[in-house]
């Protein structure tokens, strides 16, 4: 038996183990749907296209297992599913990114701080980096579509809070912000704790609104917008 055959046998075994009743026709459908889509699909989108009673989560698991060691893998990004080329084959496919996409060191650090500390205000980012932020940094990250204004902190001046977008998760191949690399270590070391460290609220990066955060309303009256500008200045 060739090693390919062995590989396939492993898949077979895994598929049988993971979902003994994975309907082969349904598997083909999920495979086709995910292969055809240009964007990641969530379970709901898949379910609407599948016959009634199809076990979308089970099918996804079976497919993920089947493709685990293949040239194409089934990844979970931003809570959705997408076939992507295997990361170890990057050397084969890598394309040079256009120069303009190269972010400054400040922008990269700011993005990381927003990702790990969200929801986070500009002042908090500046406290961590120990330097005032140029306005352009936030603008660039917003323009790429990796960060967004997610709310306002219920503190004087009601500064806006920043967080990452689904586009960020898709770009970096993350299932959710809870899957950020090294998140647990940072949390355990207390580095994600509130600023200053004597504070008692512990913000975890989360898409959910924080306890002292209001949702962002772009149509808020002028006065409130004024306070944003104060924050940004």
């Amino acid at each position: 038996m060739s090693s390919v055959a062995k590989m396939i046998e492993t898949i077979e075994t895994e598929m049988d183990a993971e979902s003994p009743e994975a309907n082969p026709e349904h598997l083909r459908m999920v495979e086709a749907l995910l292969f055809a889509a240009s964007e990641p699909l969530d379970l709901k989108a898949l379910s609407t296209s599948l016959p009634e009673g199809a076990d979308a989560p089970g099918l996804i698991k079976a497919l993920q297992a089947a493709y685990e060691s293949r040239g194409v893998n089934l990844c979970c990004v931003a809570g959705k599913y997408q076939f992507r080329t295997a990361s170890d084959l990057a050397f084969l496919l890598r394309k040079e990114q256009p120069e303009q996409k190269r972010l400054s060191k400040a922008a990269i650090e700011t993005l990381s701080i927003i990702a790990y500390h969200q929801p986070v205000t500009r002042a908090e980012i500046e406290d961590i980096r120990g330097v005032a932020m140029s306005k352009g940094t936030i603008d660039i990250l917003m323009e790429i579509g990796w960060i967004k204004i997610r709310g306002r902190k219920r503190t004087p001046g009601r500064p806006v809070t920043y967080g990452t977008t689904d586009g960020f998760l898709v770009q970096f191949g993350l299932e959710s912000v809870a899957h950020l690399p090294g998140l647990d270590e940072l949390k355990a070391a207390g580095f994600l704790e509130a600023i200053p460290p004597s504070g008692f609220d512990v913000p975890n990066p989360s898409d959910a609104l924080g306890p002292d955060e209001d949702p962002y309303d772009p149509n808020e009256p002028e006065m409130a917008t004024g306070s944003v500008n104060l924050d940004e200045a």
Binding site: A90, I113, Y116, K135, G173
Partner: protein
């Protein structure tokens, strides 16, 4: 590149220009992202765990660094100088015997711990950032389907038109078309007096001397009810015109034929009456 970016890079350039020329302390020419970044670099150079770093030593290094920059006449961004002042203050408090912290002001040790913690945190965030950016990125390292097959949206068109709409359309459309004629003012079988007079005025000068009134009726008004109306209207028109002196009229007997002639012509010459022995016109 935005102006803000340039400004940021300019800051980097300034701090990059700071060299430590003593104590074998060489700072990489990477540029610093502010005083905390410079402190972190200096702390790394101590080659100790940042958690156990000597803040006193670090403050000394920082202050020396700033001094050497001043000697080189390098303009330093304000926040580097603020940090220098703060570190000088911290150093002075650290070397002095610890006084009991009064009204909430943190002790020198607490301040040092806080600084150490901030450096650790910045260091940790830098590491996390490196890990994050090191991930396989979509369209750079990993790729989605290069030629996705789009979903064809087929519009299932249904019509809301009902029997009501159909019948309304039929009834109103046809009623409008046919009704258009029904509402046109009906040609009443009456010859307006104005019309009769206008007609007569046009005919004056063309009609024979003493024409019979009934012979002057419009051709299409010569039968039935229409004739009666035409006779009445023409007679009334004649009477009006006789009053104005435009025509002269004659009638031999009640209900007999009425004769009309141009009043102007009557003035010019005396024409015999069509009926001998007729009373003088205008009587």
């Amino acid at each position: 590149m935005t102006a803000a970016d340039q400004a940021e890079n300019f800051d980097e350039f300034q701090s990059t220009a700071i060299y430590a020329d003593d104590q074998a302390l060489t700072v990489q020419v990477d540029g610093f992202e502010g005083p905390l970044d410079l402190l972190l670099t200096l702390a790394r150079n101590q080659k100790v765990d940042i958690a156990k770093i000597s803040i006193l030593k670090l403050a000394d290094q920082y202050l020396e660094f700033i001094e050497s920059a001043k000697k080189l006449n390098l303009e330093l961004a304000a926040d580097y100088l603020v940090m220098a002042a703060w570190l000088a203050y911290l150093k002075s408090r650290l070397v002095l015997p610890q006084e009991k912290g009064s009204d909430g002001e943190p002790s020198a040790d607490e301040m040092a711990t806080r600084l150490r913690w901030r450096l650790q945190r910045l260091d940790a965030m830098r590491a996390a950032s490196t890990r994050l950016m090191g991930r396989e990125r979509l369209d750079r390292d990993v790729f989605g389907r290069g030629d996705p097959e789009p979903v064809n949206v087929i519009k299932l068109r249904t019509y809301k038109d009902t029997m009501y709409d159909l019948l309304t359309a039929y009834a109103t459309d046809r009623a409008r078309r046919l009704g258009g004629q029904a509402y046109r003012p009906q040609m009443a079988p009456v010859l307006a007096i104005e019309e009769a007079r206008e007609r007569l005025e046009r005919m004056l000068g063309k009609i024979a001397d003493w024409s019979a009134l009934t012979g002057l009726l419009p051709f299409e008004w010569t039968g039935g009810a229409r004739r009666r109306s035409a006779v009445a209207s023409t007679l009334l028109a004649c009477l009006e015109m006789a009053r104005d002196g435009k025509v002269e009229l004659q009638q031999m007997a009640p209900f007999a034929e009425i004769f009309v002639r141009d009043g102007q012509r009557a003035a010019d010459m005396t024409t015999p009456s069509p009926i001998s022995g007729a009373p003088t016109p205008g009587a």
